[in-house]
Symmetry: C2
Subunit: 199 residues, 2 copies
């Protein structure tokens, strides 16, 4: 291993994080860079800024633009995209599950599956039954995994990870950390990878 690495900070309700999650492993891998997947929650960060909803709902003009921008970018990346009938969806259980998945080595697959459900298939990723079905497609035991995700200690891990995001100056998703350099937005994936490649 070269030891070159990039931290990918994401929130399951984040539209632009879907675009990154679908691409980052291939992009980073081609540059010999290891991706560390860092699910966190944006809601506490947004609430601290006075928003009780996605800024794309709080500021509808910006939201309208974002949906069109997503269509264009998904087309460019040749990714399926369907504007969700509900936005944002609740990614809490999916994020807790991602921590379990990271322990066990299937976090990238899990993350991509959840994003695809949310933004390509318009499914409710806040619904435990939906998540159980996704786990089965990954050959994971839904009962075991969801119970582990729901443990008090695991809930605390997600809170701790979100606090770490705040300490790092993260205010949106996706964000990338390479050494001390923070990058915000799917648009910065290439820059972050290029920096990580410097080692």
């Amino acid at each position: 291993m070269s030891g070159k690495r990039i931290e990918f900070w994401y929130e399951f309700a984040s539209t632009y994080s879907y675009l990154t999650a679908a691409r980052i492993e291939q992009t980073a891998g081609a540059a010999g860079i290891e991706v560390e997947w860092r699910p966190f929650l944006l809601a506490p960060i947004f609430q601290a800024q006075g928003w009780n909803d996605s800024p794309f709902n709080v500021y509808p003009v910006k939201g309208r633009y974002m949906w069109r921008d997503m269509e264009r970018l998904a087309e460019r990346y040749e990714l399926p995209f369907k504007r969700p009938t509900r936005f944002p969806r609740n990614g809490l259980t999916a994020a807790r599950t991602a921590l379990i998945a990271a322990d066990e080595g299937w976090c990238p697959d899990w993350t991509r599956a959840v994003y695809a459900a949310n933004f390509a298939e318009d499914l409710d990723i806040g619904d435990p039954a939906l998540l159980a079905g996704l786990l089965e497609t990954l050959d994971q035991d839904p009962g075991r995994v969801l119970a582990a995700a729901d443990q008090v200690s695991n809930k605390q891990r997600l809170r701790t990870q979100t606090e770490r995001a705040i300490e790092l100056g993260i205010f949106g998703a996706p964000s990338f950390l390479v050494g001390d350099e923070l990058y915000w937005g799917n648009d910065r994936l290439g820059d972050a990878i290029a920096n990580a490649a410097l080692g």
Copy 2:
């Protein structure tokens, strides 16, 4: 003329617009595309969203990131950059002057000069004496131009242009309009040019 064109909407207090203003004429010209320079004011748009200051000041974590991002991008584009000791500066008179400059064919030079003063030299672009000096460097008569900029009819033109920006769904700067497609942010200059090149 091919008739291919792009509208470049900008506000003189906008940091990222500086990066675009310095590059757009060359980038568009290389693709055979004509740039239409559209100065407008962000303050009325921000005020409608409840902000009485730049969002980079309203949300300091985002502001801190923006200044670092500006440093990185200016370095990449090989543009001089100095974080202004005061932000945002008042671009009202500069924008009114830009409308006169557009009538007379020197708007690109004016726009670049004002941005360089603000973001490369840390000068107060709200100061009429500073603006007069910039006009002299462009061989323009400061007395004549600033009087024309200050006419009631010209002030109304800038208001009308800002209302037009709102109608177009513009919520930040720089923005680009190509046909019916809106693009937001210096990061989207390449995409907007590519679309304009399709004709």
